[in-house]
Symmetry: C2
Subunit: 209 residues, 2 copies
DNA sequence: TCAAGTTTTCAAATATTCTTGAAATCAATG
DNA sequence: CATTGATTTCAAGAATATTTGAAAACTTGA
């Protein structure tokens, strides 16, 4: 978390402030009728669209929503505040935050004088994208590459297939494997460790327009 | 979903336990009891893994399965053959093929002397990946960029928020928008038109390792 | 160690997405 | 232009995925 968030806080109880008694601040997006200003509405809109994109990429809507909230608020929030604002259950928020923490795009922070855990989202967009890509590479691309190896083995053992068929089959598997492996290695280099790798890669390519 | 987990695929027999007339539990293969050679088994494995990856990226399993089948067979197939091989309904195959055709990774072909339509998958992997990226860019990235513009407008109109808050909010929106737009433009250049654009981009980056 | 505050877990309930199957539509042929 | 074969549509049903809620398990402070 190199580029730590500024975490502009303004609410009632600051981080360095007193133990905020009970987290019973004014419900922000809850059931109680709260008049939203334009900024608040803009945040809602962002959350909605980010969640929509996420769900079309296989990220559970509520995971994307929580992430969007933390990103657009730009400050550490506790589970209570999140569930109140997003109107989701405590259990859901807990699982969701764990997922986001696993991906590395949200980090726990403890505020002194407060027993609750707080969470904040990576604020640097290139870093955010890197972390997402890295997580998916690990979880999906690498297993697929391994599986393609197995798939190849399953074919090679066969003796009944015609030589021509076998050759074509292996060629297809190999072309797929090679392309994916190349992407895998590229990402090792450019997003392997946190930082500006992705940014650099994009600038590099842009310069060749 | 995305968390790698055992994925139960085979549905049990009928709701009332009716012994499914013809269906003995068999993996992906055809309806008739055919002994599979290694090559066939290898194809099944490929289809399974490709489908799994697809579904974790938000592509319906059966869409990924049909695509995997067409890719790994490397030849034109008709709906009947596909539904027989994958054990899915005619309607499903029809919708699935339309989806794949929309993405441009599968194309219709007519065989003379045959009233059926045949379909075959793009065989060049870089081209395949380009087509996939292009489709998703159009369908998801571009709408998101447009939405971010609206989101920004919603904020700018507000006069009640503090100047500092507003400034930070807009900075977040803008950093996100700028990063995504840059990716959007890059893809215009490198995968905008079919061909080896992606391949070129990857080679370019690789050369900077 | 207890007690109070917090978080995690997970079976059940809910919501969403996918598949089916048969009728409707379309297209080629005689 | 009727017939036959093929494809598409789409409402209902099935399968999956997600969310809830409350109990269990932590944690911390005294």
């Amino acid at each position: 978390m190199s580029t730590a968030a500024p975490t502009p806080r303004e609410s009632s109880s600051g981080p360095d402030g007193l133990p905020s008694a009970l987290g019973h601040e004014m419900p922000i997006g809850g059931s109680s009728a709260v008049k939203k200003d334009g900024l608040e509405h803009s945040r809602d809109t962002f959350i909605t669209h980010w969640a929509e994109m996420g769900s079309s990429w296989g990220v559970p809507r509520s995971v994307a929503e929580v992430h969007a909230l933390l990103f657009i608020e730009g400050r550490a929030m506790c589970a209570d505040e999140i569930m109140d604002r997003l109107q989701v259950s405590r259990g859901s928020v807990s699982m969701t935050l764990r997922t986001l923490a696993d991906w590395g795009i949200v980090t726990k922070t403890r505020l002194r004088g407060d027993r609750k855990e707080y969470f904040e989202a990576e604020q640097d967009v290139w870093n955010l994208l890197s972390l997402i890509v890295r997580a998916r590479k690990r979880r999906e691309l690498e297993p697929l590459l391994a599986a393609l190896d197995d798939t190849r083995q399953a074919a090679v053992g066969d003796t009944t297939a015609s030589a021509a068929e076998m050759k074509n089959h292996l060629a297809r598997l190999d072309s797929m494997h090679d392309a994916l492996r190349r992407l895998d290695r590229l990402s090792d280099r450019f997003i392997g460790r946190g930082g500006k790798g992705l940014d650099v890669a994009v600038r590099l390519l842009s310069s060749f327009l």
